[in-house]
Symmetry: C2
Subunit: 452 residues, 2 copies
């Protein structure tokens, strides 16, 4: 099989000079990863075994099947961060680009609303849209801890709305940790069915659990094939060593880039369907590795669009970046010779949009390389459930390897706790009186303002 091809030529010193990676460093780093991986295989992290365990697949199919029989028109997903990014990525990649907008592209499936923010303006807009069809709305509430205030407050709102329609208990599913948390308490009291994250799998590593897969199953996406793709990638990582191992090679390059003064990792899909994948990886890399004063800064660009926005900076700006290109294009769109009186555009006439898209991708690669900006590219033969599953697993392993190389724990996020405490204090939660004094002081402290 040859479904994903990674080309690392243009990340090497041979291609981009001093900004590139030296063979020696690459070999050494690959060795370190290989050694670590051997140990890891003896005691794998829980997310690593997901593709083989197919955790709660039967439960998901049963609930999705029941959902499809209720003739639903709207799927509302409440979740933020790791609870929403995976689903958004899958939907963007595998549903029709105008799924929500045009009924004929939905093939009988519901529209979806992923509420990953509490901006009251957007909330109002979605609520306005849902209310007239609340009896045909299916609600999925996702929070690993079960305590996320954004998700819980949204649930408080939607729970009241849903309760106004008959049979609403059939149209609510909660996804949360197996034991602890408020969502479990609510489920028990209200009689809502629950799906879980397996023990030890964190939010940003949860796309291949019910968190990402249950909403996908409702949309008719083949979650088994997605899981097969992840299993295929897991098998590839077991089978190959050194540079032939895609996860080893990608982790080594991204790590060496970071160490060699390229802390900005630009992830740049030439494929609109993979634009959300960049957001998904952005969380995975930032939250897993950004600690102890270390960590690359991931940033998202989209080709060809951002050639007209960011490329100038990548080519002539500081050499503090490496660019990870993703490429996939399959559809064909012929360009008619509509202005045959213009010599200047004859090179476009009767070509395909795909050819131009590919030429721009290659032109950008060459232009980056010649300006000494290291880059590498992953080309997918198609944007499929299988390849997407493989990509998820690949980048999860890559992040885990980078965590080891940087000596940070990729599975915690201690830096966000303080902000959560302050939010609760400002909201007047009991038990946070001392912190409230502190936030009051901050909010009352003299400010330097400029007013327009």
């Amino acid at each position: 099989m040859k479904t994903i091809t990674m080309d690392l030529s243009c990340a090497l010193a041979e291609a981009v000079g001093e900004n590139g990676i030296h063979e020696n460093d690459l070999r050494l780093t690959l060795g370190k990863i290989s050694e670590y991986y051997t140990k890891l295989l003896a005691r794998p992290f829980p997310f690593m075994t997901l593709p083989s365990t197919r955790f709660q697949f039967d439960e998901m199919y049963a609930l999705a099947d029941k959902a499809s029989k209720t003739n639903i028109r709207n799927l509302v997903i409440l979740g933020i961060g790791g609870s929403s990014l995976g689903t958004q990525t899958i939907f963007d990649a595998l549903l029709h680009p105008l799924h929500n907008q045009e009924e004929r592209f939905r093939e009988g499936r519901p529209r979806y609303f992923i509420l990953d923010n509490i901006d009251p303006h957007k909330m109002t807009a979605v609520v306005e849209t849902i209310i007239p069809e609340i009896d045909r709305t299916f609600l999925v509430v996702i929070s690993k801890s079960g305590e996320t205030p954004e998700t819980i407050s949204q649930f408080m709102l939607f729970n009241e709305l849903m309760k106004k329609s008959a049979g609403y208990r059939e149209r609510i599913v909660l996804i949360t940790d197996m034991e602890q948390g408020l969502l479990n308490k609510i489920a028990q009291k209200e009689g809502y069915p629950v799906l879980n994250l397996p023990p030890g799998v964190g939010g940003r590593f949860s796309v291949l659990t019910p968190v990402g897969l249950f909403p996908s199953a409702i949309m008719g996406i083949n979650i088994k094939k997605m899981s097969d793709g992840a299993a295929g990638m897991a098998a590839h990582i077991v089978r190959y060593d050194a540079e032939e191992n895609m996860a080893f090679a990608l982790a080594a390059i991204l790590y060496l880039m970071y160490k060699n003064g390229k802390p900005i990792h630009v992830i740049m899909p030439y494929c609109e369907r993979l634009a959300a994948f960049a957001d998904w990886f952005r969380q995975l890399e930032a939250e897993s590795l950004g600690k102890k004063g270390l960590g690359p800064t991931p940033t998202k660009s989209v080709g060809v669009t951002d050639q007209h926005s960011q490329l100038q900076l990548y080519v002539e700006g500081p050499k503090d970046k490496c660019i990870v290109l993703l490429y996939s294009a399959t559809s064909e769109v012929p360009i008619p010779d509509s202005f045959d009186y213009l010599e200047d555009v004859s090179y476009l006439a009767n070509k395909d949009m795909k050819d131009l898209f590919h030429a721009e991708f290659q032109g950008t690669r060459l232009s980056l390389t010649e300006s000494g900006t290291p880059n590498l590219s992953l080309t997918l033969d198609e944007v499929s459930d299988y390849n997407l599953g493989a990509l998820f697993y690949l980048f999860e392993m890559v992040t885990t390897f980078m965590g080891h190389l940087l000596s940070v724990n990729p599975f915690d996020q201690p830096g966000v706790e303080q902000g959560k405490i302050y939010t609760k204090a400002i909201m007047g939660k009991k038990g946070f009186e001392k912190e409230r004094e502190h936030t009051d002081k901050f909010l009352a402290s003299p400010v330097r303002q400029v007013i327009f």
Copy 2:
């Protein structure tokens, strides 16, 4: 008036220690900007006078008026980079969040499709959607140079589609440079009306010309008020000096951050309607300043969502960033006491979603500040046409000032030319035979591949 308030307290050394700005540096930099601005006023750059000249407003109103009489259902905009980002920003800020999805929120205005990419999959989806209503589709083609291959190839495709419907000439408008370029030639031959960019105004500074304003006028957005906002900001910049001047202060801080080892500028709206504004500024800053080995890297985050994705990195990662927060929230969404049996959520019950949104914004500010990550915030009393015009003008001036401080020309983009040449060479354009040899060599050179 007090419509936009900038708080710079948490960018200063007093608040964030060594990562912050010292009073002395601030004063010195403000002085440099002030001196430069005085010279600039004598010979302003062309974009600076746009709010007072109201360039082609009459022509825009006449054409938009005519458009509205054709009972159009789809507005298709072909443009990329500076030709699309402004319009996208305006539409996201001022139209209903579900404008395209729900007819009742459109108030009789058309759906819109901004085609800022040539990804063939997406192109196919949009063409499929438009074709059955091609006789009710209005096409706006935007390219300053008139030569952008992405836009021209899309136009070749849409021109053929449009020609199949009666009266299509009434439903096409081109926006381009006043004299040169292919779009002018096409307009002459086909009889399409043309709007312009005024001489000397570049793509990324063109949002307040017909490029951003004509599509807005079609959607019924008050472009005079937007222009008034820009004029208001222009007047503010003339009137105030030093730190009381919002453009001086913002430029000084962003520049000093860059100089002080914080080359990553995170622009983070707490306001979904301003998310696209971050993309607009991302182009403005990157393409204007990324040259001669210099230039900050702008990156976009959205609050509160990215608290669950990027905040960990901002708080505990390297101190190589400053965070520019934008905040605005007006709608109210009460949180009902739906789980009154849970003590743990009583602090949310009967509050407003807006209160939680604001508490998270403040909690994040405090948490960033205490971890020594410099940040500043701009709070808008509302997301209005007026404020949006003011913001555009503010950031354009800020970018111009930063260009002066960095000694780079903010109005060119030499670094993207090479990629354009390579694209044409790969596509087989006449006159690019020598470059074709070069691209052929690159494409045929041995690669280091990893295969899955």
